[in-house]
């Protein structure tokens, strides 16, 4: 029996963060693609139906909040869950993320176990990995 793997888009301008999140999520069985800023993520989401977005906040060209707003807008209109991960821990950041349309906001550093657990939780029912 072949199952469709759960597709995740990792969105971060830092190549090391993309590599880290991609390797953790790939090992856990997710099919991961990467985008280096918010606008690239929007373009990727126009051509591929992702099951989860993992989005940084501070990125050039299009920041994380605007990215999530655009993913939720009619430009893309994805219903897929969005996890925002930020280095920022300012008052109001989480509220801003939720207002933009994120499902969960976390502050770095996020442990490997927690990232995988949250990714599984957010994508439960979307095929493997269960």
């Amino acid at each position: 029996m072949t199952e469709t793997p759960v597709k995740v888009l990792v969105v971060d301008d830092a190549a090391t963060v993309r590599l880290y999140h991609t390797s953790l999520l790939s090992e856990a069985g997710f099919a991961v693609e990467e985008a280096a800023n918010g606008l690239e993520a929007v373009e990727a989401a126009l051509t591929t139906a992702f099951d989860l977005f993992v989005v940084d906040v501070n990125m050039p060209k299009m920041n994380g909040y605007t990215c999530v707003e655009t993913l939720r807008s009619e430009t893309v209109g994805t219903p897929a869950p969005v996890l925002m991960i930020s280095t920022e821990d300012r008052p109001g950041d989480a509220e801003r993320a939720y207002a933009a349309g994120a499902n969960l906001y976390m502050v770095k550093p996020v442990s490997a176990e927690r990232l995988v657990r949250v990714a599984r939780m957010l994508t439960a029912g979307r095929g493997i990995p269960a």
Partner: protein
């Protein structure tokens, strides 16, 4: 292919990855790993043409000093910059099937549209692109007899514009033009060259302009469709931003912008809205005040 054959510039895997990431960040062009041999050879040529001896010193100068000449040479080496009729034709398919019908509808429909539909080819080089647009509209767009269409070509280089005005082309340029169209719109002028019909030549307006010059670009207004293919990658960060902003100013709200097939606005400017068409991604000037 053997590992000896891929040695080329003597790039290690890590160097190649660093280069790939840099070039992508700078130009939006991503090389498949299968292009490794090609890329290695072209980098080798760039290093040989520079005053540097090694990849490391050349790459450091490329990245850390404002050496536009090094980048220009690199892009010239790594991009195929030839122009011919009906190049990247799938974008003209997009224009005919999706973009123009949407433009007509957004402007009130074929019976109520006021003013011409305006299409800009920038850079137009020796004219193949604006004339290809003209041919495809005349041959394939059912509304061409009911609506006015203005086609404009613009380029910074006056010598290519002179050749565009003359509009005579060799076999290589015309290889993709169907024989029927060639017989109908071109006449042999000797030396294996064919000149485009005067009616079409006369219908396309040509301009000399630098796309990064905001003042000069003010003359370009209310375009419905712009083709700006394979030029923004040549500019540095600030110039490409200014060029994108000038193009935005030349477009009607809701108008469409086509970039080259390996190019993306995502490394240049967020002011456009990417839109997916069956043939690929195209950019629109947002219609509302918000983007």
């Amino acid at each position: 292919m053997t590992s000896a054959a891929t040695a080329g510039a003597g790039l290690s895997e890590a160097d190649f990855e660093k280069f790939r990431e840099y070039f992508y960040k700078r130009t939006g062009i991503q090389f498949a790993p299968s292009k490794r041999y090609f890329v290695d050879k072209r980098i080798d040529t760039c290093i040989k043409n520079s005053e540097f001896d090694t990849f490391t010193t050349w790459f450091a100068a490329l990245r850390l000093s404002a050496r536009d000449d090094l980048l220009q040479e690199l892009i010239n080496q790594l991009t195929v910059n030839e122009t011919y009729f009906l190049r990247e034709d799938y974008q003209f398919d997009s224009m005919l099937r999706t973009v123009l019908p949407d433009v007509v509808e957004a402007r009130g429909g074929a019976n109520r549209i006021v003013g011409p539909i305006k299409i800009l080819s920038l850079p137009c080089s020796t004219g193949e692109e604006p004339y290809s647009i003209a041919l495809r509209l005349l041959e394939e767009w059912d509304l061409i007899d009911r609506l006015d269409v203005e086609i404009h070509g613009a380029d910074i280089d006056s010598s290519v514009l002179d050749r565009a005005r003359h509009a005579s082309y060799g076999e290589r340029s015309l290889q993709r033009v169907p024989k029927k169209w060639r017989d109908k719109y071109f006449s042999p002028v000797g030396g294996g060259r064919y000149q485009l019909d005067e009616g079409i030549r006369g219908a396309v307006t040509l301009h000399q302009v630098n796309v990064t010059d905001t003042l000069a670009m003010r003359a370009f207004r209310d375009f419905d469709v712009i083709f700006c293919r394979n030029v923004l990658i040549y500019f540095d960060e600030l110039s490409s931003r200014r060029a994108a902003e000038n193009l935005y100013g030349a477009m009607r709200p809701g108008a469409y912008l086509f970039l080259g097939h390996s190019e993306s606005m995502s490394r240049i400017s967020p002011i456009f809205t990417p839109t997916r068409l069956p043939e690929g991604i195209v950019y629109q000037r947002p219609t509302g005040a918000n983007r």
